[in-house]
Amino acid sequence: MDERIRDDFPILRRHEHGKPLVYLDSAATSMKPSAVIEAEADFYRESYANVRRGVYELAAAATDLYEGARAKVASFIGARPDEVVFTRGTTEALNLAAWGLGETHVDPGDEVLVTEMEHHANLLPWQEMARRQGAHLRAAAVTQDGELDRDDLRRKLSPRTKVLALAHVSNVLGTVNPVVEIAAEAHRAGAVVVVDAAQSVPHMPVDVRELGADLVAFSGHKMLGPTGIGILWGRNDLLSELPPLLTGGEMVREVWLNWATWDDPPARFEGGTPPIAQAIGLGAAVDYLRAIGMDEVRRHGEKLTALALDGLLGRPHVTVYGPRDPKARGALVSFALAGIHPHDVATLLDQEGIAIRAGHHCAQPLHRRFGIPASCRASFHVYTTPDEVEHFLAALDRAWEALR
């Protein structure tokens, strides 16, 4: 990766506590290149209007930009534009999926299967849906090595399983789950497969058809795009069966005082004025990532992860969670220092301008599985440099010396 890429991200010139910012929390949210910031600002400055409703030229221009962003995202993931629903983020996308599948696919006594490594965003919507439908929520186990326990998952898949929801890449362990194989197994059992791709689409080439899932959710803000915009991709025939989560303006065909008919997907799921500028900003983020090339993005992530893993595993007081092989991981590493609380590590690193995450990363059941209240996490994106990872490892040694 060309280090000049950092010039594209104005926030990376920031200092914390007098030290240059070393931002290692891209799994929580990524920084934005000027191209994204300007795309949003330009839309407000030059082409702003509401979409899909005005008969005047400006509204048509705004609609073209909004639908153009949808087409960019669709092409980025190997999909058709009518299969790409704009949501507020992964959380809303998964709630939409859980709501719709609950209403149409899940009856009392049925089962919904998740895994122990899910982010709360891919757990709580299924908990709530199972409760509403009188179904049972089950969870496939995670091994001590941080891999999905495939045998346990097979045991828990049955004709009663109506939905399997799982992460493509774990936001804590970094584990890349073999979704292609698992989706095939789940389909043989008759389940709909929903994938939380929030940590994969921003970091590696993802083709939703090759993935073999039925619904795939991800966020704009983790892939260099704006906040407030996310995607639910779905096979068009499946989306056509699902009811909307939000009802209101612009998602209907015919409205009477006591009934209405829904529009086709994706409009059916985009009630109200959508995040138009954010969608356009996401389109610019997709352009930016494609210009680098997702294979190159992935190579860079693997290189940094290998460097971090190597450094962490070489320190006997450090415990690393998840797979040891960088090729089996997303661009993140979670770890702990013996006897030191993760929040102390993060606070000490912050004094050196280094931003890492400490806490349960919205995955409390997974931390409970490993018997820890919290962990530290360093995560990377295209603007992260090997020097920053080395700097982080050296600062970690100073934190260890300060608190051991």
Partner: protein
């Protein structure tokens, strides 16, 4: 580096009054479920004065050091005075705490306030929580 003042590091490495009181008149546990910090504070009040105090628990350096320092600050003091203790008093005794970690530093003070309130109504030692 540290950013952790010497007083925090000292109390973290050498905690004072750590353990359990056999005969507390007041006891309370406060926890921060988000980070797993837990502090139990026990006090024995005699004649309106805090005759003894102990803390136990686990968590980050800041919460545990703050608990240790707090017990040092209150033992031998009149309850009426301790009840007037403000958040800022503990924070400044700690030498200052970064704003992202205030809830850790103040966890023991919350436990102390609950312990003193529990002691007012309770005559027998509280059971395990």
């Amino acid at each position: 580096m540290t950013g952790y003042e010497e007083v925090i590091l000292d109390h973290w490495r050498h905690p004072r009054h750590k353990g359990r009181l056999p005969d507390p008149t007041g006891s309370a546990i406060e926890a921060n479920p988000l980070c797993g910090d837990v502090v139990r504070l026990e006090v024995r009040v005699e004649g309106g004065t805090i005759a003894d105090a102990r803390f136990s628990g686990e968590g980050c350096a800041i919460s545990q050091a703050a608990a240790s320092l707090l017990t040092e600050l209150i033992v031998g003091k009149p309850v009426a005075e301790v009840e007037k203790m403000k958040d800022e008093d503990l924070l400044s005794a700690l030498g200052g705490v970064v704003r992202t970690r205030l809830s850790c530093a103040l966890l023991p003070l919350r436990a102390l306030r609950k312990a003193l309130a529990s002691g007012a109504q309770r005559t027998s030692p509280p059971g395990e929580v």
